[in-house]
Symmetry: C2
Subunit: 148 residues, 2 copies
């Protein structure tokens, strides 16, 4: 009666290993390990790198906008920029038009480090997707975008 592919076992049991949340979490864990290993030299976390990449795109960004661009909470982005600023990789100037805002930019060191980090980041994406065929990669990305 019950099929082999049931996600809930014969007694309606919950099978953690079959749940999509668990699978996403584990895939993410693997990606995080790959990321940390590859970025060991430049010493950037995924979110630190994302923030720097976004500042580069925008040239000058307020902290909140930065968060929205990188899909981060205002409270979370606050800590990320704080740590990057402590390392003098980014710096903030006051916004003359809006005294609430900090406008973040890359420092010279930040630009230099990001230049080193960018090809590493591309390699990380490649390594993460390595177990998949080209068509699987495309389907995977398409599916993830639907889940956003």
């Amino acid at each position: 009666m019950s099929k082999k592919s049931n996600k809930t076992g014969k007694d309606g049991d919950y099978m953690l290993e079959q749940q999509i949340g668990h699978l996403m979490r584990k895939a993410n864990q693997r990606h995080t390990v790959i990321f940390a290993a590859a970025m060991k030299e430049v010493d950037l976390t995924p979110m630190q790198f994302a923030v720097m990449a976004k500042i580069k795109d925008e040239e000058e960004v307020s902290q909140n906008l930065l968060g929205r661009l990188a899909s981060m909470d205002p409270a979370t982005v606050q800590g990320v920029v704080k740590r990057l600023a402590e390392r003098d990789l980014i710096a903030a100037k006051p916004d003359v038009n809006d005294r609430r805002r900090h406008l973040w930019t890359l420092s010279k060191d930040g630009e230099k480090l990001l230049k080193k980090a960018l090809p590493v980041a591309k390699q990380i994406t490649e390594s993460t997707l390595e177990p998949l065929s080209q068509s699987e990669r495309q389907a995977f990305a398409r599916t993830l975008k639907k889940l956003t």
Copy 2:
């Protein structure tokens, strides 16, 4: 020359929104929101629920094994069980054969709560996958398992 589907932009620029790590992170964020909303009444986080589901499967488990079963660090599982134990949802007895170990079991309250949480968890999986067709769901799960 450069194709529309390039992940790196015309100047070799890094496009955060196209990177698989970013997409996985955002999909996970959405799942987390769905989880928290659905589990609001029983008040269990994803990891708290996973730990309880695994204890139910095993009847009695040591803390470290619990972590391995739920793909958690020993240091992380420590905090999760601590918080569940504080709520008297789980309890530990010493292992007579190995004095290093705690054997965790569900309490009466824990069993009762888990019984309420299990159908909610299934609903969470369903809601998370809702934007996908049946075949997309299967492909997605298969792909995630490859990335594990």
